[in-house]
């Protein structure tokens, strides 16, 4: 099985949502700010449930928040 890469647009989505802070996003989805930081930096791949909750906060489909690129 090849290594997968999950990238995200959380930084820009936060920016386009009245410059929402990481803490505000963390509070909205019920995680710590450190977890939001780790997800933004690509250091942590969230669970499917958390990914959907993040998409719900931005009121956008999940594929607008996360994109998956398998290693070639």
């Amino acid at each position: 099985m090849s290594k997968s890469f999950l990238s995200n647009n959380i930084r820009s989505l936060r920016f386009h949502n009245d410059e929402m802070t990481q803490q505000q996003l963390a509070d909205a989805v019920g995680v710590s700010r450190q977890t939001v930081v780790a997800i933004e930096k690509g250091k942590y791949s969230p669970s499917l449930e958390l990914a959907f909750r993040l998409a719900e906060v931005f009121d956008t489909p999940i594929q607008e928040v996360f994109s998956y690129t398998p290693e070639k």
Binding site: V31, S32, R33, Q34, T35, A38, K43, Y44, P46, L50
Partner: protein
């Protein structure tokens, strides 16, 4: 440094201080050099059993002091919630710690097979336990900083 990272550092320091301090006290008061194997077993078993409440009470006190100190220093009275990432980090760190403790247990058994004294076996067991706890918190610190 996040709350979780600070907590891990405090845990490492408190583990070393409490266990180290307790066993320094224990070795100062015994065991007598002329004890039989049965008496030695009883001495070390008693020492390890007493360590459990000493360690629990010590850590509770340390955590109360840490929480108060952290709240004063950061002026934030909220303790961050434990989320899925924290739980995953904890599970991975526990797995690493179990390996260390298992290795300590095997070395302790090996020491007995090689005709080492009961004291050597217990010292290796205790060191394995302390090392596994330190490694547990060090792993958590690493995963919090570097990602999982």
């Amino acid at each position: 440094m996040s709350y979780q990272e600070k907590k891990n550092v405090v845990n490492i320091v408190s583990t070393l201080l409490i266990t180290g301090g307790y066993f320094w006290y224990v070795t100062q008061s015994g065991p007598a050099p002329d004890l039989s194997t049965e008496e030695l077993l009883k001495f070390w078993a008693k020492s390890m059993l007493i360590l459990i409440p000493v360690s629990i009470v010590g850590k509770i006190i340390v955590h109360i002091v840490f929480s108060i100190g952290n709240a004063i220093a950061t002026r934030d009275h909220k303790i961050p919630p434990t989320d899925e990432r924290d739980k995953l980090i904890e599970l991975k760190s526990n797995r690493n710690a179990n390996w260390i403790f298992g290795a300590g247990f095997l070395i302790a058994m090996f020491a007995l097979v090689m005709d080492a004294s009961v004291t050597v076996m217990f010292v290796v067991l205790i060191c394995g336990g302390v090392l596994s706890e330190v490694f547990d918190n060090a792993s958590q610190l690493y995963f919090h900083r570097r990602g999982i």
